[in-house]
């Protein structure tokens, strides 16, 4: 009986463990960015959605918060923020690449209205 109980305990523990490991395989993070407009949203989402390891990236334009779900074995939070910086956007911890920022369209630098021209 004791033997069975310990087996059971082992099974429960392992499954717990693997469930825990499963959780660690993917991670969802949300952080603030310097995105401004629809054009920024498109640029950021397209870049990150096609970055290896990213499951999805979604920018909320109302509060400029970016949500990224990713595979921890393939990419880290730091690397994601560096990819973002490389296309001209800062996040809470990584500062944007200056040249990439200057190459953005005017509206993404807040210098002109983002409304589509009529």
């Amino acid at each position: 009986m004791k033997y069975y109980l310990s087996i059971l305990a082992l099974i429960i523990l392992t499954s717990f463990n693997s469930a825990h490991a499963q959780n660690e395989k993917t991670k969802t993070i949300t952080f603030i960015t310097t995105a401004i407009c629809e054009e920024c949203k498109e640029r950021i989402e397209e870049k990150l959605n096609y970055t290896k390891g990213v499951i999805f990236a979604e920018l909320n334009l109302e509060n400029k918060m970016l949500t990224v779900k990713y595979k921890t074995a393939l990419i880290t939070e730091q690397q994601i923020k560096e990819v973002l910086a490389s296309i001209g956007y800062s996040s809470d911890t990584v500062v944007r690449d200056k040249d990439a920022y200057l190459a953005l369209p005017k509206c993404c630098r807040g210098e002109s209205s983002c409304e589509p021209e009529k």
Binding site: F56, K106, K118
Partner: protein, 638 residues
């Protein structure tokens, strides 16, 4: 903004704006790509307001219906310029490539008087892609199991901050002879369709203009299998379809310096349309030359709560037509004037009252008053009512070309009159939130009453087709309820239910309209993954019983039922996006519905009972297609 219809945003799915006094459904890029194939007639497959039907078993052409009424009662235009009308009514939808279209706006019932007296059942306005923001380069390929291949290519270029230009090219062809229903006839004609559009845009401070040229041709041969035009003419039944269309168009907008809210818009269009249609021994040839002009002066009265549009229009429309050994020529000259007043109470209540008068050189005065009103009872809903009178000058041959696919003898009354109808409707739209996403419920009821109608009488005899005007009771009741919800991120579900009661009186009997189902419903589910790489879409269209014209006096083997069967059309598509590429694979009519013996007397196509116009379901069975879009956006300099 030229013309008055404004396109809001890009990349929209299907939306109904709560602000607009007209009940306008907008179909954007996302929605258009849900059913990737191919031309304008196929752009409405996920839309409940517009029904699409095949016209006959020879030409493969498709026609639309709104409010249960034939597409001829719907005014179809691009950027407020007339498009599918006159002789292009029959095949105009089929020669407008879907990938050129940026968005489509659908209005049920009568439209604004600014656009003319024609819209009776509805108004469809489409916007082609614009030089200012269209793709710098775009390529599309589509191929299906019936041997249809399509290519689309377009590109826009900004020349400087004022000028931009865009070019479009389209080619499609059917290369394989298919006969799924095994009746000895090609299910689709073989041949080629090509189209070109080249347009320019200038946007200055006080002046803007858009102008361009648009041309298309089609050259298709249908009919009995194995037809060789050199050897088999007169022995095998053939359908030959040729159209040549060319037009130049321009729109100009002037903003007045001393009147900040005042503007003048001018529209000019010069068109040439030549078509040849042969169905066995029936040969129709039509040539139309048209000049159209419209001018719109837009200003406010006192403050922006009171707005008006007024202007003059002019139409010169010259037709030369022959049907078998008869010739018909006419020249229509129609000057017109209109005035439309808009009362806007803080956008909550908007009333549009319009009136127009036209003088037609053949039919005299055409007077069309129209009224549209919208009221937001609360910010999340809109109640709209509309009532208005519309007219249409029929072209009995061109409007009904597809009915030539039979041995019926055509008996067209020479003294037909303009069709004249009063259409009224009430629409209620309610938006509500589910998990931060906007869902929509809408319900509408439209009643169209014909003061005068051109009857296509297939009931008097299965060997004759009578066309004549009647002013006896004729109407359409149309009811539609539609719900669209987004229950989870990326998932959209839509369901619509429709009821039509369309009847006309002729020979003293109130006939139910043939080929119009009383009940229809549409279900659509679309899911896009959160990284937007995959989209899945499925649409089910349920079509109820339709009345069929009487064939009771035919010999027994050439008789058909008095009603069609109910059936489901199921379409589905999967799209995969990789950066600038979209790959798609889809299926149409996946339940494989086939109308059996669609052609009456297919074994004797030159006999007295031959009739390929009794179509009520697909004749081709299921279809599988693949394709891709490749697009590079213009670099935004702003």
């Amino acid at each position: 903004m030229l013309g008055g219809v404004e396109v809001i945003g890009i990349n929209l799915g299907k939306t109904i704006d709560l602000l607009d006094p007209f009940n306008v459904e907008k179909i954007g890029q996302d929605e258009l790509r849900k059913a990737a194939c191919c031309n304008l007639s196929e752009s409405f497959e996920t839309n409940a307001s517009v029904d699409v039907n095949m016209t006959d078993a020879i030409s493969g052409a498709k026609k639309i219906q709104m409010l249960g009424l034939d597409g001829i009662y719907t005014q179809i235009q691009f950027e407020n310029i007339p498009m599918v009308r006159g002789l292009s009514t029959s095949y105009g939808l089929n020669s407008t490539p879907g990938t050129w279209i940026e968005s489509i706006q659908i209005t049920k019932g009568t439209g604004s008087v600014v656009n003319g007296y024609e819209s009776m059942a509805g108004l469809i306005n489409l916007e082609f892609k614009q030089p200012e923001n269209g793709e710098a380069f775009y390529f599309n390929f589509y191929g299906n199991k019936f041997g249809r291949a399509e290519f689309n290519l377009h590109g826009a270029k900004k020349i400087n901050d004022k000028w931009s230009t865009m070019s479009f090219a389209h080619y499609s062809g059917y290369f394989l002879e298919t006969d799924v229903n095994d009746d000895g006839f090609r299910d689709f004609p073989l041949g080629n369709i090509g189209a070109l559009l080249h347009r320019w845009s200038y946007q200055g401070k006080n002046y803007e203009t858009k102008f361009g040229v648009r041309a298309n041709f089609s050259d298709q041969v249908g009919g009995e299998l194995g037809f060789d035009p050199d050897n088999d003419a007169g022995i095998l039944y053939q359908g030959i379809f040729k159209t040549y269309h060319a037009e130049i168009f321009s729109k100009q907008g002037f903003f007045l310096k001393n009147r900040p809210a005042g503007s003048i818009g001018l529209i000019n269009q010069l068109e040439y349309h030549n078509m040849y249609s042969q169905f066995g021994n029936n040969i129709y040839n039509g040539l139309e030359r048209k000049y159209y002009f419209n001018s719109i002066y837009n200003d406010i009265i006192g403050n922006t709560n009171h707005n008006f549009k007024t202007g003059l229009s002019f139409l010169l429309d010259d037709y030369n037509q022959t049907f078998n050994d008869s010739a018909f020529t006419k020249t229509e000259i129609v000057p017109g004037a209109f005035f439309e007043y808009t009362l806007n109470e803080r956008d909550k209540f908007i009333l549009v009252a319009g009136v127009r008068g036209d003088y037609h050189n053949m039919y005299g005065e055409l007077f069309s008053p129209r009224m549209h009103a919208k009221w937001n009872i609360n910010p999340k809903n809109a109640l709209r009512i509309s009532v208005g009178r519309g007219y249409r000058i029929p072209n009995p041959f061109a409007d009904n070309v597809s009915y030539m696919a039979s041995s019926r003898q055509w008996i067209v009354s020479p003294d037909f009159r303009p069709e004249d109808a009063i259409s009224s409707g009430i629409t209620f739209t309610q938006k509500f939130m589910i998990r931060d996403e906007v869902s929509t419920f809408s319900v509408d009821y439209f009643y169209t009453h014909f003061n005068n109608q051109l009857i296509i009488d297939m009931d008097e005899s299965p060997n004759q087709l009578y066309i004549y005007s009647v002013s006896a009771r004729g109407y359409s009741h149309s009811f539609q309820a539609e719900i669209s919800v987004k229950p989870a991120k990326g998932l959209e579900l839509r369901a619509a239910y429709k009821y039509y009661d369309v009847r006309s009186t002729y020979h003293g009997i109130l006939h139910k309209m043939a080929f119009v189902p009383v009940f229809r419903s549409l279900f659509n589910a679309g899911y896009t993954t959160r990284n937007k790489k995959w989209s899945f879409d499925i649409t089910g269209n349920w079509v109820g019983k339709k009345r069929l014209p009487s064939t009771a006096s035919n010999p027994l083997e050439y008789q058909r039922g008095i009603e069609s069967e109910r059936y489901w059309i199921v379409n589905s598509q999967i799209t995969y996006r990789y950066k600038k590429f979209n790959f798609y694979i889809g299926g149409e009519n996946l339940a494989n519905v086939i109308q059996k013996n669609a052609i009456i007397s297919a074994d004797d196509p030159f006999g007295a009972f031959f009739d390929a116009t009794q179509m009520w379901a697909p004749i081709t069975g299921y279809n599988i297609y693949i394709g891709l879009h490749f697009g590079i956006k213009q670099k935004s300099k702003e």
